[in-house]
Symmetry: C2
Subunit: 234 residues, 2 copies
DNA sequence: TTCGTGAGACGAACGCCGTTCGTGACACGA
DNA sequence: TCGTGTCACGAACGGCGTTCGTCTCACGAA
């Protein structure tokens, strides 16, 4: 990150503050994502991001109008990292599944960003638009009507976002050791002590909650959705 | 809400502050839900709730340990309002669909509560437990294995929560007139001006975003999910 | 070379927020 | 009558998003 080479004297001479970086929107988003990856989403405050750039919070507002806008920029960047396939109509189902899995993975990699994505009402970022276009193309290639493709795109996207939110929130909460672990143990004890006549199924199922990775459960629902969408094709 | 009947004098005599109400957890949750219904979720602050009870924020902490706990209590209350059916194995699919629709309706009635429900990692409230039990019973009645029932319950519940969150957030944002309306118009103009060769499907579909009620789209995905789950039955 | 100008960095402050602490009022059993 | 413990609450702390006004400084015109 840092440039340790000795600078030519004519460059050092007239610069009081040694490494004055110009501070762009891109740089701000970079720093915000770094903070997110290391300290979680609620650490991404204007003050914390500014501190990561060795400046004050007021300096950010020249490049970003809001904390909300910063969050949207972060989300767009994260979802922009995933590679988009060339649409192959014969393989639309597999391609769509891969694409959605990649979305899931990208969202989970930055724990907490999924909540931000869910809060974005209108996906107007450039990367989000491209992503939506490809998903629509895949569904159309699968033989769905325009209407079904639109609805299906919506439903499937929401499923991925929601699962990523829950999954990463749980992971983020689990990483913070004492609180969540204690609650999980409490719940286990609570469920084990539950009156079995009143909650037979809950008791029967309760060990499955801790078992089964998030990815497994994610794919279970995803397959169901894709099957259902394929059945709507004409 | 208020009791305007004149009180017997012996009740009035030794009470300096005229209507000193004892301030219980239930009362706090009531007030919080009233604030939520009228002013949205982000108005539900400790200070605002306390103000609604004519007291200071510190007074709440005797009955509620956290803002987070308050939120969970609110969520449990809202989801507890929905009536649970007697499980009829022959009608499991219709019963499940009705139950999920009722969940959706309850979550949308208090705009913003869906986000809270999503953030609850472990549904340990009494009403949430009862709800889960019935959903599991319905899926088991539909012939699913324990494992599939557990996963299906998870998936379906998440779908409802996510859809309610998006839907109510949009509705909440729409009620606040100027900002969201402006963005929607901006997006319409933006999409209309989109290069059609690069985003053919997005352009073709863009009017469907504003059309089609949330409920319609909700049921579209719900039917797909239920079909898929029914197909897993043995 | 000098000077005006405009964009950007930033210190300080405002009004919120969640939460804690210490005090004080008050009902109740001894 | 007198502890005593519960609960309401005023005051305060630290942190947040955001705004305002000032100051620096590169750059083009004269």
């Amino acid at each position: 990150m840092e440039d340790n080479q000795p600078r030519p004297p004519w460059q050092r001479s007239n610069q009081r503050k040694p490494a004055r970086v110009p501070l762009t929107q891109e740089l701000i988003v970079d720093t915000a994502l770094a903070v997110l990856a290391e300290e979680g989403i609620e650490a991404v405050t204007m003050r914390r991001v500014a501190q990561g750039l060795d400046t004050g919070p007021a300096s950010l507002y020249a490049h970003v109008s809001n904390k909300e806008e910063l969050h949207e920029l972060m989300a767009d960047r994260v979802l922009g990292e995933i590679p988009l396939p060339e649409v192959d109509p014969a393989a639309w189902r597999a391609q769509l599944k891969d694409l959605l899995s990649a979305q899931f993975a990208a969202l989970v990699r930055y724990p907490g960003i999924a909540r931000v994505v869910m809060a974005i009402m209108i996906p107007a970022g450039p990367n989000l638009l491209r992503l939506g276009e490809v998903m629509l193309a895949l569904l159309r290639a699968g033989g769905l009507s325009v209407r079904h493709a639109a609805f299906g795109c919506d439903v499937v996207g929401m499923y991925v976002k929601a699962f990523a939110q829950e999954s990463s929130e749980w992971r983020g909460g689990l990483a913070d050791r004492p609180e969540t672990k204690r609650r999980a143990e409490e719940l286990n004890a609570y469920l084990a002590a539950l009156p079995e006549h009143a909650f037979p199924h809950t008791v029967a199922v309760h060990e499955l909650f801790n078992e089964g990775t998030a990815r497994e459960r994610f794919e279970f629902g995803l397959d169901i959705l894709l099957d259902g969408l394929a059945a709507k094709a004409e």
